[in-house]
Amino acid sequence: MEMIKLTIDNKTVEVQKGASILDAAKTVGINIPTLCYLHLHDLNITNKPAGCRVCVVEVKGRRNLAPACVTECTEGMVVNTHNIRVLNSRKTVLELILSDHPTDCLICSKSGNCDLQTLAQEMGIRQIRYQGEQSHYREDTSPAIIRDVDKCIMCRRCEMMCNDVQTVGVLSAVNRGFMSVVAPAFERNLDHSECTYCGQCVAVCPTGALTEVDHTNKVIRALADPSKTVIVQTAPAVRAALGEEFGLEPGTLVTGKMVSALKGLGFDYVFDTDFAADLTIMEEGTELLDRLSRFMNGDKTVKMPILTSCCPGWVNFFEHQFPDMLDIPSTARSPQQMFGSIAKTYFAEKLGIKRENMVVVSIMPCLAKKYECSREEFKVDGNPDVDFAVSTRELAHLIKQANIDFNGLPEEDFDRPLGESTGASVIFGATGGVIEAATRTAYEVFTGKKLEKVDFEQLRGMEWIRRAEVDFDGTPIKIGIAHGLGNARKLLEEIRDGKADFHAIEIMACPGGCIGGGGQPLHHGDSSILKSRTAALYREDAGKPIRKSHENPFIQKLYEEFLGKPCGHKSHHLLHTHYFDKSNPIEVD
């Protein structure tokens, strides 16, 4: 590789050809500020519109200033990142951005977590010399995401996520000049678009323009209502990320502290979505084996491959974009909904209370879960199986509001019966985890043999699309994995074109899986955080005494006492669902 030598702030730097000034500066400890720039190394996601101009630097011999994020280093280049010309320009540009931005920071939901606010603070902006007209847009509230476009700074990160990574295509820059903004088609609300609520736009928004719908107050009110039994479930990925909100290292597992905190908040029962994940494996695994054996016996009517259905963003995606393939995904509900369904039937019966008097709260790394629990098909007489889905970030707020010193909490265990889970369910939170969990169970059921080594390394990793073959005692089972909806689209198109011969495919809407969900603590562009969270989940799995879903004693008990058998009549009613064609056909008058 060719090396380039240059000088940045009087320091000599040697970098590989092709490196940007920004990257080169970093190697010698010079952190040039950025705003629109986003580079998630481990996922190979980049956003470099060079639009904010905050990273401009002076390059000797160049007429104007150069954006460090996209300017390639050249041999002998002399760069100054903070002389008076650069500083004045950077501050002026920042003042301009602030002049078209509301200054209600004190009550902004992004306060303290806003890249723009941080930058203004670091640059010491104390006045905005250039005041003038500000853009005003209607606030758009959907079941999961709020768009407060007045706060949009046109960094285009959300647009990149929605189009390039997720290929959902809901957001686009519209209008031009001062009027330009990122919006759905015809500036309609998100709930009139094909939005999957994956929340990746929220995950990368540097300001308060895109945030989640906040249900914390509803939870507080439910907890305060003596007539309600309030139970909570926590998704696998939450425990690997919540600690970040309290200053802990990314990848710190806080399962026990989280349980303590939830109890401290006043939940009557603290359960685990992991339990429902084990249940999902039972249902989805049975469905897989059923289809697989019929397929291998030459049944031409059976559809292959089977696709996982636990990710609500992914479900929204195929309902909108692949209405012709609604019969391929598993009909199993997601763990969140299975939990809600079991809680408001089996567990409510056990407690002897009416479902109306039970409130099920779920703590999710995900924003699409907010939409999922509001779906009509997951309600009984208008009463939803899951009442509120709150994000990891909202949970942190709840804990802080309850004056709980999170880091000083003791570690506690989940309540039973719906709090017991296996290692298989914990890894649901990482890409490849669901299919690995399913494989552990399916292998034993299919072959009748005990699985000695439960770790399937070939199914793990961060690669966008992974293909693996697992030997089911002589029968090769072909498995596909995709995370990020754009990659899901690629696999689906392969299937549609008859080019794929998978038996089972796992799809997660968010890059990295649930650990990278739209409801997780913000990574601010550091993708190593996602890797740490993933590692934490696999650590938790490895430490579990039981690592196969079908071995969960409480799951076995649930079938004995209540459900009968997997994919049986009752299961079908409570744990399965059907999908809707939500594409936008051309209807003619």
């Binding site: 519109p49 060079a50 639009g51 904010c52 101009r53 401009v56 104007n64 200033l65 954006p67 996209v70 300017t71 390639e72 010309r85 004045n88 320009s89 002026t92 540009v93 301009l96 951005i97 002049s99 078209d100 010399r129 250039y130 003038g132 007209e133 700074i153 046109m154 820059a173 209008n175 031009r176 000049g177 001062f178 009027m179 330009s180």
Partner: protein, 597 residues
């Protein structure tokens, strides 16, 4: 084939068509057939003659008689008097404004005397819809020469030697660009002609496409040969329907002749051209934005490098030149690099086409050798300032350019001198202003344009220009402060320094150059709350002079908002609270009783 004794050339440019030159054309034809002269007199629609001020133009050949401001009704007289009786129609001849003499030969008119038409060589001379006429003027010979006698490297060498620089604004050497694109390796490359002329007040490229479309087609093919591209695209403004029609016709004819398509002139070279339409975005004149627009995207510019020569349309190496640049190419090949390089100045060879407009007597399209002075252009070609007013400034380079003043009048015009003087060549708009023009308002006018045309991608251009115009508006309203002037200057500098593309990097130029050259006007607005040119409405009052007012009521009757009170034969008064400052009263007063304070 009929052997015509007389050719009548009728200008079919947009300007003249707006003044009914089409009806004129039909009337001429009708009269000719009425008189049974079809076999002797030919009427031809040509491209723009340039002298738009006096359009529609009719030129009679071979007498070389130049008629101006011809109406459809004049057709009969031209045929009966000139064609049949051989008597020139005196009243339609151009009158020298100084000597009051009638001028017959256009070359003897001040407007044409100093011009040198290279890019416009065929405009107003041939029928742009007839490929034969183009061929008769050496058309496609340059392409033939390149394909049969010269290697691509040799052609590029000629182009480099000629010193031709891009006429679209930047002034990048065309030959060098071709060389770089040639050096980029790819399975497919593209030649793109930028015909998205969006500069307000500029219509050079349109006139070339309307008057001589084949010259552009030929040049694109030559470029294709040089850079190894088989496909050409013309990105043309949808607002140019006539140019589009002419270009389509020309492409069709060239295809029928086999001058476009497979195996051109039996040499094995293949090249064809498609049209892509712009849709009203000035920023698409920037080449990366143009390419995105051709790809069906929002026309937002992106950072260079990569340059289009390396990665352009659909990610392939793409050579983008504008219409005028291309129009020069065939002549350079035919007449040689030395010939071309002998015209103009050392660093700016050849000629430049300007759209001369504003407060000038001879509005029109002119082509002059580089190095000519502004004085020559304004006073000799342009015939001086309209209505005998005082010259104040000339704006070149459109919204990216600046204002030049009295002291720049003797500066030779070329790329570098204009930049040194705080303006730029731009695509060739040249707007003359007189004593009545307020320079703060002019800066505001251009900023208004930039704000509307900014794509919104980068913050300094999107928000900065908006803030600039807000400050200018404040100043024009008399609410400006000295701090505002400092802010204007700092903000302008930052926008130039930090914007992503050429639009933002140059958009503050009108502000900076008017501040540089007319600072006293800014001060007058800010300190004295006065607009010296009487243009800024908020800073002026219409007052009725009691001594002169006779009470005729003309002003009161014509006031659109009934702001004038007064009895018949009594002194009238304007209610300043109601007055909208439209100036109708002043216009209607026959007694000079209304004045501006």
């Amino acid at each position: 084939m009929a052997k015509f004794k007389i050719h009548l050339l009728v200008c079919g440019g947009t300007g003249c068509r707006a003044s009914e030159s089409e009806a004129l054309f039909h009337n001429l034809k009708a009269t000719i057939s009425e008189k049974g002269l079809e076999n002797e007199v030919q009427v031809i629609t040509t491209g723009c003659f340039g002298f738009c001020e006096k359009g529609p133009i009719v030129k009679v050949m071979p007498d070389n008689t130049f008629y101006t401001q011809v109406t459809p009704a004049d057709a009969i007289e031209i045929i009966e008097e000139h064609v049949i009786k051989g008597r020139k129609v005196q009243r339609l001849l151009y009158e020298n404004p100084e000597t009051k003499e009638k001028v017959v030969d256009s070359k003897k008119m001040g407007f044409y005397r100093k011009q040198l038409r290279i890019a416009l060589r065929n405009c107003g001379f041939i029928d742009p819809e007839n490929i034969d006429e183009y061929i008769g003027r050496d058309g496609y010979m340059a392409l033939g020469k390149c394909l049969t006698e010269l290697t691509p490297e040799q052609v590029i060498e000629i182009m480099k030697k000629s010193g031709l620089r891009g006429r679209g604004g930047g002034g990048f050497p065309a030959g060098l660009k071709w060389e770089i694109t040639r050096a980029s390796k790819a399975d497919q490359k593209y030649v793109v002609c930028n015909a998205d002329e969006g500069d307000p007040g500029a219509f050079m490229d349109r006139s070339i496409l309307e008057g001589d479309p084949h010259s552009v087609i030929e040049a694109m093919a030559i470029c294709g040969y040089c850079i190894d591209a088989s496909k050409g695209l013309v990105y043309i403004r949808a607002e140019y329907p006539l140019a589009i029609e002419r270009l389509k016709t020309a492409i069709k004819q060239a295809r029928e002749y086999g001058l476009l398509g497979e195996n051109v002139l039996g040499t094995g070279f293949s090249f064809d051209i498609e049209l892509r339409y712009g849709a009203g975005a000035f920023v698409c004149g920037e080449e990366t934005a143009l390419i995105h627009s051709m790809e069906g995207l929002r026309g937002e510019p992106t950072v260079k490098p990569p340059f289009p020569s390396v990665s352009g349309y659909l990610g392939k190496p793409t050579n983008v030149n504008n219409v005028e640049t291309f129009a020069n190419v065939p002549v350079i090949i035919n007449r040689g690099a030395e010939w071309f390089a002998s015209i103009g100045t050392e660093k700016s060879r050849g000629t430049k086409v300007f759209a001369l407009a504003g407060k000038i007597n001879n509005v029109g399209l002119i082509e002059v050798p580089m190095g000519i002075t502004l004085r020559e252009v304004i006073y000799e070609i342009g015939g001086g300032i309209k209505d005998g007013k005082e010259f104040k400034a000339v704006q070149t380079g459109g919204p990216s350019g600046g204002c030049l003043t009295q002291r720049h009048l003797d500066t030779p015009i070329d790329y570098d001198n204009l930049i040194a003087a705080g303006s730029m060549m731009g695509s060739g708009g040249m707007i003359v202003m007189d004593e009545d023009d307020c320079m703060v308002s002019i800066a505001k006018f251009y900023l208004d344009f930039t704000v509307e045309e900014s794509c919104g991608r980068c913050a300094p251009c999107r928000i900065g220009n908006k803030r600039l115009i807000e400050i200018l508006e404040k100043i024009c309203k008399g609410e400006g402060t000295m701090d505002d002037l400092d802010n204007l200057r700092n903000l302008s500098q930052v926008i130039k320094d930090t914007s992503l593309c050429g639009l933002g990097q140059t958009s503050p130029n009108p502000v900076l150059s008017t501040m540089e050259n007319f600072y006293e006007e800014y001060i007058a607005h800010v300190m004295d709350k006065k607009c010296p040119s009487g243009q800024c409405k908020s800073l002026l009052q219409y007052i009725i002079d009691a001594e002169n007012c006779v009470g005729c009521t003309a002003c009161a009757r014509n006031c659109p908002v009934n702001a004038i009170i007064g009895e018949r034969k009594g002194v009238h008064v304007i209610d300043q609270a109601v007055c909208i400052k439209c100036g109708a009263c002043m216009e209607k007063c026959k007694f000079n009783a209304v004045f501006i304070k």
